[in-house]
């Protein structure tokens, strides 16, 4: 079966690099799954979970906050503004992120910025609830 060359980088480090079966992206206009042979596409990302599938039924989740994805013949590149693998997520780190999103929401008067911050906030809160299970 064909595989997809996938790279996930944040400003501080490379989080993932290698061949995968599929990647679910939290694209800004709705979640999407990228499979091998996807048409060239560029999209921005919102806050949410990115799921990397290397084997069927085996996904790794990474929380990304904003960023950018580039799909072309050579594979998928994700430039995340911030990225946190699932193993590293703690409720303290999430609280910090939530606080920051809250600050962006409060500080801005721009409706679209406010909207994006609100969505990010909801996503983060959801992640936090999932964590406490």
């Amino acid at each position: 079966m064909a595989t997809l060359n996938f790279e996930l980088v944040s400003p501080e480090r490379v989080l993932f690099s290698g061949e995968v079966d599929a990647v679910v992206l939290p694209a800004s206009e709705g979640d999407m799954t990228v499979l091998p042979g996807h048409a060239p596409l560029m999209t921005t990302l919102k806050t949410g979970f990115l799921v990397i599938t290397t084997k069927v039924g085996n996904g790794r989740r990474v929380l990304v906050r904003g960023g950018f994805a580039d799909i072309n013949q050579s594979g998928l590149k994700v430039l995340a503004e911030r990225a946190m693998p699932e193993e590293e997520i703690t409720s303290e780190a999430l609280d910090r992120e939530i606080l920051q999103a809250q600050m962006i929401y409060d500080a801005s008067n721009d409706l679209s910025v406010k909207h994006a911050a609100e969505a990010a906030l909801a996503q983060l809160q959801e992640a936090k609830e999932a964590l406490s299970y």
């Binding site: 980088v9 400003p11 560029m42 921005t44």
Partner: protein
């Protein structure tokens, strides 16, 4: 002829200085390793960013719709120089060579009749440039309290500069920093970062854009700007430690040589003193 006590004091003081320079060298070596790994870890992101922008730029033709960050304001009257230097001295020619490059650039622009504005990142460059360009410096970014430069600092500087750009305060921005080649070689570099210089890649893939092309460019360009500044800061941090390490190394060596020379003079004059005393005693005895 200095007395023996003077010589002893001098040797002791040079030894104390040598200890300090030796310690600074070792601290710089440890910090250099950290700075270097940070710079290397940040490199993939900057490279991918350049690739993605290249892909994007090859599909976009510059027109009135193009964001100004890419197309520029169509003028180059007001030039902004962002000069990144260190917060501390004692690192050889590091600060002065960056400042000299910036100064030459500023002088050339002024001679061409352009307006020059300067933002200093790091206190040392500010101290040097202040003498000549006091009225051109519009801001000083102090990173003194920051132990390890992170993305936040770069973002803070980028937001500041982008704010000025949006307000129409300048047309072209150039970034000055030292590129880290090796411990003994750091190259002062000037890089134009606004309007963005993007090499269009050769691929002619027809992309789908989500959201529209212009919107993506509008979010990606400011981010690219931040990344460029981040990279410059990291390169600078590594260069600073490298420069400090090599200059402290030569200082330690110089101190060693000085101690050797002084000890030699000290021993000579001590021996001369003893010989003189002996002669005095012997000639006194002979006179009797």
């Amino acid at each position: 002829m200095p007395s023996l006590k003077d010589l002893r004091n001098r040797i002791a003081s040079v030894k104390a200085t040598q200890k300090i320079t030796k310690a600074m060298q070792m601290v710089a070596a440890a910090k250099l390793r950290r700075a270097q790994t940070a710079a290397e870890a940040a490199r993939p992101y900057a490279e991918r960013m350049a690739e993605v922008l290249g892909n994007l730029a090859s599909g976009v033709t510059i027109g009135p719709e193009t964001p100004r960050l890419l197309a520029g304001t169509g003028s180059d009257k007001v030039q902004l120089l962002i000069v990144c230097t260190a917060e501390r001295g004692l690192c050889g020619a590091f600060n002065s060579s960056i400042s000299r490059l910036a100064r030459d650039h500023a002088n050339r622009l002024l001679a061409e009749g352009k307006t020059v504005k300067i933002i200093c990142v790091g206190k040392k460059g500010y101290d040097i440039l202040r003498r000549q360009f006091a009225e051109n410096i519009i801001d000083l970014v102090d990173l003194r309290s920051v132990r390890q430069v992170g993305f936040e600092q770069a973002d803070m500087i980028a937001q500041k500069v982008l704010g000025l750009f949006e307000a129409g305060e300048f047309d072209v921005a150039t970034l000055f920093y030292a590129q880290f080649k090796s411990v003994i070689s750091q190259i002062p570099t000037a890089q134009q970062i606004l309007p963005a210089q993007i090499e269009a890649s050769g691929t002619t893939a027809i992309y789908d854009y989500e959201p529209a092309e212009e919107e993506i460019l509008a979010t990606l360009l400011p981010r690219n700007f931040t990344v460029q500044i981040f990279r410059a800061l990291l390169e600078n941090a590594a260069s600073e430690q490298g420069a400090r390490m090599s200059s402290m190394d030569s200082a330690t060596r110089n101190a060693g040589e000085m101690i050797k020379k002084q000890t030699m003079t000290y021993n000579r004059s001590r021996q001369a003193m003893i010989t003189k005393e002996l002669i005095e005693i012997i000639s006194g005895a002979e006179a009797l």
